[in-house]
Symmetry: C2
Subunit: 430 residues, 2 copies
C-alpha cells in the first residue's frame, strides 16, 4: 500500500473481471467510505483486447502480460478471473509468492488445488479469498467462516448451478422435454455451447467440494463426490413428483455422518414446502443445517457480471482491510481435517422409482414382494394405465441403505412382467 | 489477552446468554481451531441465580455484580444479553470506556442508542458487534458490512418478527382468527405474556432501524418509522388475498428513493412467487436488492437460545480475531449519513381494499368513479354477495401515491351505499 491507496490488478477482462471493474469505478466513493481506504484498479490483463465488451478499459490500464501485474511492487491484490485450472493456477501461485493477496471466483481451481494454494498463502502471510466461486453473490463462504464459525454443520444442500436449475424450472413450469429446454437455454445464453460441465453436475461438484471443505473443516477431493446429471429427467417424472408433493432439483449434498462424509450431486425430489423448492430459474441457494444454527438458507444470483462481481469486490474489500490493519491471514480456511467418504451404496436415502409393467393382475404384488425381500419399505405407490396393456407404477420408498434398493431393482428388472425401470431418483426430505 | 486466551464476560444468564455459554463450552475445541485462539468464559453475571435454567453455570463463574466483570482487566470481551435500553446501555457504555470489545444482540438498545454507542466504540478503539440483534442466526449484518459492502442497496424487506409470522402462518394455514391464534401462541411460548411489541410491529421497527442504517449508511431514528401491526388482519382478507395470488406477511421495508428513505413496518400482500412468501412459522428472512447484487435473501431462525447464540458466538470470534491480530475497529459501521424520511402519504404503494356495500345496481360504478377522481387506478376487483343484501367488494389498486388512495377512501366512506371499509392493506409486488 502506497500513499494510502490499495491497488489491485485484475487478470482477465471477461464477464466477472468486467463486473468487478465496473463496480469499483461506479461505487468508488461508497467503497472508500466503507472500506476506509481508497481502492484503485492499477492494471487489467487480457490476452485479447480486440473482442467486443460492454465496458471500456482505459488503454493505460491494459496489458497482455500477467507478470507485469504480478511483479508490480505497487500492486497489493491480484484478482484472478481467467477461470480453469492451468494458467490461473500458475498466476495465482506466482502472485502469492510475490506477496500479494489473491481474490478469485475460480471454483475449478479452488476445488482441485485449494489444498495446495491455501497453505501457500498462509506460508507467505497473504490472504486468499474466493467467495465468488460458489453461488455468485451469495455470501455463503464468509458466513461459514465468520457468522456461523462456532456452529457444527451437519448438512449442506445447495442449488449451485443456475443452468440446470433454469432447465428444470422450465421443464416444470412449461412441461417441456429436457432437450428442447436445453436448446432454448443455449439460444438465450443460459447454457454454454458445450453444456456438459453444467448438466452432468461437474460444476456443482466443484462447488460442493468447496462448501463441504469449509462446512466440515476437512479436505475434500472432487473425484470422491458421487455425481449424476439431469439429462435423464423427464416431464413425466416431474409431473408424478408434483402430484406427490415434490419438485425435482439438482442438489449438491454434503453431510457429516459420524466420522464419514456424504458427498453427492444428483437430481432429487424435494418436498414443495422445503425452502429450496421455491428457488426458481437461474437463482442459486444454499441450505445449511446443524444442531446450533438450525436451518439457514442463503439465496441469490449464482452468476452474472455484477452479482459475482459484488462477491469478488467484497473479497477485495476484505483483503484491503487486512492490508490497512496489517492483519492478513486473519480468517484462514481450516480445511485440513481428513474424513473418509461414505460409498454411495452405504448412504441412507429414500427414492422415487417409476417402472413400466404389464397391466395384468398380480404384478404389483410380485414387485412389492421382491422389494420386501431386500428390506426396501414402501412409503407410497401410484399405478396408472399407460395404454397398450402397459401400466406405470410409481413408488416412493422409505429411507434405507441405497444398496438394498439397487439389489431389489436388479431382481425386479428380471421379472417378465416388467418392461422397463424408467427412472430412479433420490428423495431428499429432511 | 493473557496467556494466549481471549476471555469473555457474559452479562445476563438468560436464553441467549445461556445459548452462547453452551455453544462456547460444547464446541470449544472446534472454535479454538477456527478462531486460532482459545476463547474462555471467565464470568457470567445475573441478578438471580436461583431461577430454573436448562443449563448450569459453575459457581466460580457466577457473579451478581456486572462491574466485577466490566472492570476485570483480564476480560477482553463483554457480551451483553440483558436486553432493554436502561441498564444494558449503562453497562455497554462502561465496558467500552473500560477498553473492552462488546457483543450484544440487543436490538432495542442498538436501534435507539447505536448513534451514541458506535462512535464511542470507535473513539475507544474497540469493536461493537450486534449480529444477533436482527434475524437471530441470519448472517445479515455482517453480509451487509462485508460480502455486499461494495453494492448499492435499493431496498431491504424483512420478515424479522417470528411471533407475528407464526401467527399469520397459522391464520393462513388453519383459517383461524387472530385472537385465537394469539392465545394459542402464548400457550405454546411463541408469544410473550404482553405481546404488544411484537404484534404492533415495535420489535420489527427496531430491527428495521438497524438494517436500514447499515444498508443505506445513514442514521435512522426509530420514531420516524411508519408502523402498523397485524391485529386487524382477518381470515377473510387472507383468503381473498390467496385467491388473488398473494399471502399476507408483516414486512419491515426500507428503501432508498433518491435522497429520501422510505421506512415502514406494516402487514402487506406479497405475491406467492416472492421468495419471502415461503417463509413460514417462526422463521425470519431478509430480502435485499440493488443494481449490483440483484436479489439476495437470507433465511433462518430469528430467535432461540442456540440460533441467536450462534450469531453472538460469531461476533465473539470476530472480536477475538481482531484482538489476536490487533485490528480492532477493522469493520466499523458507517451509518453517519443523514437522509430525510419520506412521509407515508408520499410513498408510492399499491393497496388491497375490502369494503362492504349495499348489494344493488350502480354501486361498483359510483365507487370506481370516486377512485378515478382521485387518480387511483384499479388493477383488479372481485365482488361477492355477503348475504343480507350486502356485497363484499375487494379491490387491488395500481401503484400510486398513498395520499390519493386515502383521499378516495374518505370520499367513498361518505357514500350511503357503503356500509364499511373493512380493510386496507398495502401490496408489495416488486
Amino acid at each position: 500500500m502506497r500513499d494510502g491507496t490499495v491497488r489491485i490488478g485484475i487478470l482477465g477482462a471477461g464477464v466477472v473481471g468486467g463486473g468487478l471493474y465496473q463496480i469499483l469505478q461506479k461505487n468508488a466513493e461508497h467503497i472508500e467510505r466503507v472500506a476506509e481506504v481508497s481502492i484503485e484498479v492499477a492494471a487489467i490483463c487480457d490476452v485479447d483486447w480486440e473482442r467486443p465488451r460492454d465496458f471500456s478499459v482505459p488503454t493505460a490500464l491494459r496489458t497482455t502480460d500477467a507478470y507485469e501485474i504480478i511483479n508490480d511492487p505497487d500492486i497489493d491484490i491480484i484478482v484472478e478471473t481467467i477461470g480453469g485450472s492451468d494458467v490461473a493456477l500458475e498466476y495465482v501461485t506466482a502472485a502469492i509468492r510475490a506477496g500479494k493477496s489473491v481474490v478469485t471466483p475460480n471454483k475449478e481451481m479452488i476445488a482441485h488445488h485449494g489444498n495446495q494454494i491455501l497453505p501457500l498463502a498462509a506460508q507467505y502471510g497473504v490472504d486468499i479469498q474466493f467467495e465468488g466461486s460458489v453461488g455468485g453473490v451469495i455470501p455463503v463462504l464468509r458466513s461459514l467462516k465468520e457468522s456461523l464459525a462456532s456452529a457444527q454443520i451437519d448438512q449442506i444442500i445447495g442449488i449451485v448451478n443456475g443452468t440446470t436449475n433454469y432447465i428444470l424450472t422450465e421443464m416444470t413450469e412449461a412441461g417441456a422435454q429436457f432437450t428442447e429446454v436445453l436448446a432454448a437455454a443455449r439460444r438465450e445464453g443460459y447454457a454454454e455451447a458445450d453444456p456438459t460441465a453444467d448438466i452432468e453436475g461437474i460444476d456443482a461438484a466443484n462447488k460442493l467440494a468447496i462448501l463441504a471443505a469449509l462446512a466440515f473443516g476437512t479436505r475434500v477431493r472432487v473425484e470422491e463426490i458421487y455425481r449424476e446429471g439431469i439429462s435423464q429427467i423427464t416431464p413425466t417424472d416431474i409431473d408424478y413428483a408434483r402430484q406427490m408433493g415434490y419438485v425435482i432439483k439438482l442438489l449438491a449434498i454434503g453431510a457429516r455422518n459420524g466420522d464419514q462424509l456424504e458427498l453427492r450431486v444428483h437430481p432429487a425430489l424435494l418436498p414443495v414446502q422445503h425452502p429450496l423448492a421455491a428457488v426458481r430459474g437461474v437463482f442459486n441457494a444454499i441450505f445449511i443445517s446443524g444442531p446450533e444454527c438450525g436451518e439457514v438458507m442463503l439465496y441469490g444470483q449464482g452468476a452474472g457480471a455484477l452479482p459475482t462481481g459484488t462477491a469478488v469486490a467484497g473479497d477485495v474489500i476484505d483483503c484491503a482491510r487486512n492490508i490497512v490493519h496489517d492483519s492478513r491471514g486473519r480468517t484462514p480456511c481450516r480445511c485440513e481435517g481428513e474424513a473418509s467418504v461414505r460409498p454411495v451404496g452405504e448412504i441412507e436415502t429414500s427414492a422415487y422409482v417409476r417402472m413400466c409393467v404389464a397391466d395384468q393382475p398380480g404384478v404389483l404384488g410380485r414387485i412389492a414382494t421382491l422389494l420386501g425381500h431386500e428390506g426396501v419399505s414402501i412409503e407410497s405407490v401410484i399405478q396408472r394405465p399407460a395404454g397398450n396393456d402397459v401400466a406405470d407404477i410409481v413408488w416412493v420408498m422409505h429411507k434405507g441403505p441405497e444398496r438394498h434398493l439397487q439389489a431389489a431393482l436388479c431382481a425386479i428388472k428380471e421379472l417378465d412382467v416388467v418392461e422397463q425401470i424408467c427412472s430412479v431418483i433420490r428423495v431428499v426430505d429432511e
